[in-house]
């Protein structure tokens, strides 16, 4: 003590230790408390005998205990000291006391730790302020992320021009969620009373659902649609309890939790998506709300795109028979010709006119004629190949586009068409049975040996061949060739060749 301090009361070191403005603890290297000061006991409300002999980490909250054992204790040994570690002491009655903890290791001459000195400072005020700060920052980050997801969804759904594009955009957004082990979108198919997987590749294995999910199935997807709300399966145990049918598939796919979310639109639920996660999730209300909002956006977009598709379909199809109208047929034929120039594959087009249709119309009325056309169009669609297009060009005139068909295959398809038309048809409420036949004109365009041709040209050649079939006695097909008169360009059975009119 310096001379100037003579009137300052002499410090009793024992009193200084016991009543210092911070808590002191001495522990063994394994954490067992051997000495504690009065300040520490005052602050915490512990009695000395409750603290002495216990490991220091026992005085902490459970989370603090984990942090202490995994980080602070090893760090103390590695560095010999730790400074200002934020922890919370668990006090009698369950009260928590936020503190800052600093410790020093005292070692013997050989460097072996013998004692740890720990100082504890009350951190209550700053801790609560910091906690608010952390919470606010976290809330802001979460909300920013949600807004970003919904903003992206709104932009991509607005750009989508078809249901398939909406589905693809939704799947992409879901796939970008961290921890996602696979997401799939299913659409309601009212005809089959089922949800049908939408997308190119079939259901991903990890998405834990079949390609077609019956509406009544006891699985999350169907339950979400039935209940019009999100179904959360947060753990494998929850799956076993609520949806035993998916528990095993989840385990096999290494999926521990999932969400099934209905795609709700004004007109009802149009589908649902399922997001699967590699580990169990405690889904927060905010997360569930994000999914509900995302699903509402997607549902509305799907409903809108379906209306668009319906309008487009109406504009491109014959309202009576559902066959492609002239505009759509011509554009598909043009597209097929363009593809053929690239691939070198032939394109066949057929013109089909019904023999005896006028008699049906005149004898049994227009409504019977309509019945006949509807039935014939259905039959034509049934006997062509899946990717072929059947169009109705007007009256009793149909056309068929068979991309890739060479003359032999085209003739084969034509025979099937004739056969399908030839079978008797019940009309006028099944009270009358009528029979018609078909005259078919075929033109095969071979890009390897023919100059480029347009859809209009090909249809004119097929039309000419159809007239030749009529002239030869109907109920048959004729392949367009060069003998069809001088008003048309010369053709061969292999395709259109040379001498197109200038």
């Amino acid at each position: 003590m310096t001379p100037g301090d003579t009137d300052f009361p002499e410090e009793d070191l024992e009193d200084l230790y016991e009543h210092a403005p911070c808590g002191y603890l001495s522990t063994r290297p394994d954490g067992t408390v051997v000495k504690v000061n009065a300040t520490f006991l005052d602050w915490t409300g512990h009695r000395a005998e409750d603290v002495i002999g216990r490991p220091f980490q026992d005085l902490l909250t459970p989370g603090g205990r984990i942090y202490h054992q995994t980080h602070v204790a090893p760090l103390l040994r590695l560095q010999g000291s730790v400074k200002a570690i934020a922890l919370e002491l668990l006090c009698p009655g369950g009260r928590r006391l936020p503190v800052l903890v600093s410790s020093d290791v005292r070692a013997d001459a050989s460097g072996t730790p013998v004692l740890v000195r720990t100082a504890v400072v009350d951190h209550t005020e700053r801790r609560s302020y910091e906690r608010e700060l952390v919470r606010a920052r976290k809330a802001a980050e979460d909300s920013e992320r949600r807004v970003r997801v919904l903003h992206r969804a709104a932009a991509q759904f607005a750009e989508a021009t078809s249901t398939a594009e909406v589905v693809a955009a939704l799947a992409g957004i879901l796939a970008d969620e961290p921890g996602n082990a696979g997401a799939g979108v299913w659409l309601v198919d009212p005809d089959r009373a089922a949800l049908v997987h939408a997308g190119e590749d079939g259901p991903p294995a990890a998405s834990v659902a079949d390609a077609a999910v019956p509406a009544a199935a006891p699985v999350p997807l169907a339950a979400a649609v039935r209940g019009h709300d999100v179904v959360a399966v947060p753990t494998p145990a929850a799956a076993e309890q609520d949806f035993p049918a998916v528990a095993l598939p989840m385990h096999r796919a290494r999926v521990e939790s999932l969400l099934a979310v209905p795609l709700a639109a004004d007109g009802g639920v149009v589908g649902a998506y399922q997001a699967t996660f590699r580990r169990r999730r405690g889904f927060t209300p905010e997360q569930l709300e994000l999914h509900r909002t995302l699903a509402r956006q997607a549902g509305a977009a799907i409903e809108r795109s379906r209306l668009d598709e319906e309008v487009r379909h109406l504009a491109q199809h014959d309202p009576l028979t559902g066959a492609a109208n002239r505009a759509l047929f011509t554009s598909r034929l043009d597209q097929a010709l363009a593809d053929a120039r690239r691939t070198g594959a032939p394109v066949s087009a057929m013109f089909l006119d019904l023999d005896g249709f006028k008699a049906v119309n005149d004898g049994h009325g227009h409504s019977a004629g309509d019945d006949l056309l509807v039935e014939i169009a259905q039959r034509l669609r049934r006997v062509v190949r899946p990717r072929d297009t059947v169009g109705r060009l007007g009256g009793d005139e149909f056309a068929v586009l068979c991309a890739g068909a060479d003359p032999a295959e085209a003739a084969h398809i034509a025979r099937r068409l004739e056969e399908a038309v030839r079978a008797p048809v019940a009309v006028a409420g099944r009270s009358v049975t009528v029979t018609v036949t078909a005259s078919v004109g075929i033109v095969v365009h071979d890009p390897g040996s023919c100059p480029p041709a347009s859809a209009g040209q090909l249809l004119r050649y097929a039309d000419a061949a159809m007239y030749r079939a009529k002239a030869l006695g109907k109920d048959r097909h004729v392949m367009y060739d060069t003998t069809f008169g001088t008003e048309l360009p010369r053709l061969t059975a292999q395709g259109v060749r040379a001498t197109l009119p200038g």
């Binding site: 490991p55 459970p62 054992q69 995994t70 590695l78």
Partner: protein
């Protein structure tokens, strides 16, 4: 066998850099790979690994996100489960062309080893599980007592947040490169067990909410369970559970207290590992 970087592996250097892999010890002998747990880095093995250096190659590494690992390699999706960490271990074994290695994993590092051993048969020939816990959460469904509740883990996340507040700002000059203050970089090199706060929070979530109990039955290599006394993170009941689930495993109760016997009682820990090595 010699431990050396395999030339067959296209990305050997990348893997070794990513996980800050360091190889020491004898050039020949059965290799030992040491994996640290949550909250630490490879420095925790500083008193155990050298005990084997005379007769074994020793491989230390940091999980991505910890210690001197490449933080830019931290991919939230990859590391959203312990499988991602296990895949890293397999890549390290491939990169060093290790065969029949003894994998020594502490705490969550032990679980990562359980997963890795099943992904890479032949690479990992034995497991030493130090204070293991396949699931820290209690499971009311079957009475399993992992020791913690979901609220306890939330409490841990809050504790982490409280200790990392401002950390990013403090370390920013180091990451940005500050040639005027080289001591900052020096400080980072010397700092043990540091990690980025966002990564620490994510790793804590993945570690303490994971449930890998079902993976224990798939272990087919000789396994040693090292159980500490008075371990609040991995109780004796949990250690005995691991021992029961891993067929043919050996259970050794250490006198060491707490969760980190490799730090608190390195001699006892090394002796138990050595005794196991002599019989497998």
């Amino acid at each position: 066998m010699a431990v050396q970087a395999s030339t067959r592996h296209r990305n050997t250097t990348g893997v070794l850099r990513r996980n800050n892999v360091s190889v020491a010890g004898a050039p020949d002998g059965r290799p030992l790979v040491f994996a640290h747990g949550f909250g630490c880095d490879q420095h925790v093995w500083r008193w155990v690994a050298p005990a084997f250096a005379e007769n074994h190659p020793t491989v230390l590494f940091d999980h991505v996100g910890a210690g001197g690992s490449d933080l830019s390699a931290y991919d939230r999706a990859r590391y959203d489960t312990l499988d991602g960490y296990a895949a890293d271990v397999v890549e390290i074994c491939d990169a060093l062309d290790l065969r029949d290695a003894v994998f020594v994993g502490h705490s969550v590092g032990a679980t990562i080893g359980v997963l890795a051993a099943q992904r890479a048969p032949g690479r990992i020939g034995a497991l030493v599980l130090v204070a293991p816990s396949p699931c820290f959460l209690d499971d009311p469904a079957d009475g399993y007592t992992g020791g913690f509740s979901r609220e306890d883990i939330d409490d841990l996340l809050e504790t982490l947040a409280g200790n990392y507040l401002g950390w990013s700002a403090a370390m920013a000059p180091v990451f940005m490169g500050n040639p005027d203050r080289p001591e900052l970089a020096e400080e980072l090199v010397n700092a043990f067990c540091r990690t980025d706060p966002a990564i620490a929070e994510h790793f804590a979530t993945v570690t303490f909410l994971a449930d890998h109990r079902r993976d224990l039955a798939g272990v087919e290599v000789p396994t040693l369970v090292l159980q500490c006394s008075d371990d609040v993170l991995a109780s004796e009941a949990v250690g005995r559970y691991v021992h029961r689930q891993v067929r043919g495993s050996r259970f050794v109760q250490l006198r060491a207290t707490g969760h980190c016997p490799h730090i608190g009682a390195p001699e006892e820990t090394a002796a138990a590992i050595r005794a196991f090595l002599e019989t497998t």
